[in-house]
Symmetry: C2
Subunit: 440 residues, 2 copies
């Protein structure tokens, strides 16, 4: 709660200088992935940023005027300008619009967001409606009641992979289970897919997840029905090291059908949210949450995805983070694999058919998948001419060297030499002057 008279800056009922309270506050104030908030906090620090927003909300006129010429506008502008140079848009909604791989890249910038100052004032208007409700201490108490931990950037347990998100990185992580996300995500693969999965996809998800867990990888996913749940479950069965990323608060284990699964994940792994307890999941938050799943994995593998599956947005985020993406093919007659096939067609993803190949995608040189070979066949080791002679050898009644040579299309002397070798290898037999295939 804040008390303030209109026109006077909000006076917070908590110490904004306390980094834990300030970080927790920002995770409620701004929608996930709001890069304007990220840039502001990066420039001023969470506490000072809060105070500035309260002031700007109270006197927007002065604030925007000040922004044009003064700090902190200039500092924020530098960060934001960097963002805009990348061609990315600077509101969470633009960043995470659509589920298709192309959508993120092609999304039009939010209106007016191309001027840092205007982007910042638009941010202030977005955040203002939540200033009054800010109560980070209560949110932290709710987390404590759940035996949870709050992680802030820079904490020992903070997963370094999230830094790649820049100003779109979360302000804080609300964690239930093992708090050492840094350790859990050091060797991790994001394994995602459709809720509307087929038994084929679920089987493959289980095979990949258990194979990855057996290789010491943490399986990161969204805890949804279908592929996500199968991936978590199979990883739990091996060593329990799996990360469930929620779009809601960690007090709301959504979907409720996977509640027990998530509670199990809290022992060996963790259930994680970037929004405070009490937050409800919306479509935009699911899409924003996917960027964290992609950032926590060294690679993202999509098992089954229809054309508009959210799993494709996770793949899209991984691509923008320059992390390798894998797609598991399936029957072309299955709509549940259509999204994976699009990823393969567009070249956005590598074809992944087993855990070894998924590990290769995510891991170091030691994780290279073994080369595939077909079954061994008689004569495999032979040089081409010897193969031709072997092909030309009659199976039943033997033939003289000359006719074998004619059939093989080789010189007589060369044929004779090759026949000698085939004889030693047991691939040819000689009876009088007649040659035929060997018994083995």
């Amino acid at each position: 709660m804040v008390e303030h008279a209109p026109g006077s800056p909000a006076r917070f009922r908590f110490d904004t200088a306390d980094p834990v309270l300030a970080g927790a506050a920002w995770s409620r104030l701004a929608e996930p992935g709001d890069v304007v908030a990220g840039a502001l906090v990066a420039a001023l620090g969470a506490g000072e940023a809060l105070a500035w927003v309260a002031g700007a909300a109270a006197r927007p006129g002065e604030a925007s005027a000040e922004l044009a010429r003064l700090e902190p506008g200039a500092r924020v502008a530098r960060t934001l300008a960097g963002e805009m140079v990348t061609g990315e848009t600077v509101t969470v909604h633009d960043r995470h619009a659509g589920g298709s791989p192309g959508a993120g890249r092609s999304a039009a910038p939010g209106t007016g967001t191309h001027s840092p100052a205007r982007a910042l004032m638009a941010g202030v208007r977005r955040w203002a409606s939540r200033l009054e409700g800010l109560a980070p201490r209560q949110d932290l108490e709710a987390l404590e009641r759940l035996d949870g931990t709050l992680l802030l950037p820079g904490d020992a347990g903070w997963p370094g992979g999230l830094d790649a998100l820049g100003p779109a990185a979360p302000h804080a992580l609300w964690v239930r289970g093992r708090g050492d996300l840094a350790g859990l995500s050091r060797r991790a693969v994001a394994l995602v897919g459709s809720r509307a999965s087929t038994s084929y996809g679920e089987r493959v998800a289980r095979d990949l997840a258990s194979g990855l867990a057996a290789r010491g990888f943490t399986v990161v996913s969204g805890g949804a029905h279908g592929i996500d749940a199968e991936a978590h479950r199979a990883a739990l069965a091996v060593d329990g090291s799996t990360l469930v990323l929620l779009a809601s608060g960690v007090d709301r284990l959504y979907p409720s059908g996977n509640r027990r699964l998530m509670e199990t994940a809290m022992s060996g792994g963790a259930v994680v949210a970037e929004v405070p307890p009490g937050s409800t999941p919306f479509r935009q938050r699911f899409l924003a949450r996917n960027r964290i799943i992609a950032a926590l994995g060294s690679a993202t593998v999509v098992v089954e995805a229809a054309m508009r599956s959210g799993a494709l947005s996770t793949a899209n985020h991984a691509t923008r983070l320059l992390r390798p993406v894998g797609a598991v093919p399936g029957p072309v007659t299955s709509m549940a694999s259509a999204g994976c096939h699009e990823l393969l067609r567009s070249g956005a993803a590598v074809c992944v058919t087993d855990a070894a190949e998924a590990a290769e995608l995510a891991g170091g040189a030691t994780d290279a998948a073994p080369a595939r070979h077909g079954e061994h066949r008689p004569g495999d080791g032979l040089d081409p001419s010897a193969k031709a002679v072997l092909d030309a050898l009659p199976v039943r009644r033997g033939a003289p060297v000359e006719s074998v040579a004619r059939v093989a299309g080789l010189a007589v002397d060369e044929t004779r030499a090759k026949l000698g070798r085939l004889l030693l290898a047991g691939l040819a037999e000689k009876e009088g002057g007649a040659w035929r295939r060997g018994s083995r």
Copy 2:
């Protein structure tokens, strides 16, 4: 038959100056894809080349001595040297060793073949054993009895696609059915796959073939059991324009189980061999035959292929001819698709899931496959902020603008504006001051 005393050059019982007889003779003399023979014929013409081989076979010493300093050695050397520069090897057996995509490229050059003169004399020794049996007139009579046609390079009906094979191009084509292979292959796709096919692969092969035929493409394949047969059959059902490439003579419709299928193909399409009637199929000839299938198609699409399927050698030939290759994915649990998945993993093939995508691979701009979209969803057309407001709208009891703004994480004024738009779109309803989701 030829009559000759040892040491004296063979005197042929046919007019080597007759290009038809000479071409037919070479198609029996040299194994398919023998680039040394191809280079020799390219340099001297089929007739002169025959005469020279007869002489060289009779007096190998003189011939190889002459080759070192004189024509035709120099001329052949130039052609062969060009071949060797490409890093390809110059005996049919090397060129077509192995079935795996890599094998062709990585095959070691045949011994001694890096000197054009030695390659040529090795060729003479190969061909010598068949000189005596040469009887092109009889082979042509056998073809006539089958109502067949002989095509030679340069003939109106000769398929131009084969020129890309260079000295590995066939010396002649023995055709039963429509003789206009040029017309039949002007718009053609090679559709190949395993004999050990699954019902899934067979269904996809039929869908692709009928879809391609409906788009005016000729379906080229090897007439084998499994995928090949399904592809031919489906194309026949549409307009009958399919090409069956045999590894044996056209008098031997192998495998016999597909005899009727091939006879049907002769009406709207053709059954084609590069070896004369009476020739039997060997593994090497199957592999050599695959280069023609690849060269006749503007693209090659592999439907189902195990790790060592011959279909992979066809894909490999297409790659070397710089023709696009497509691979149809399947369940990763199906070994019958493992070869296709390897093609996708290595980047040698594009993922193909339907006839439109296969046509796009093979055809011109007009054949571009339609972009894929998922099903339409309410609010698809909206800008991101409007989407956020839509997400934030309560379904049952309405809420004031301020709370909608807070939930959406947007400014109140912007939220009010978006609500207005949603109202017009019927996506929001207003009751008093309370907003909720629209009925539609």
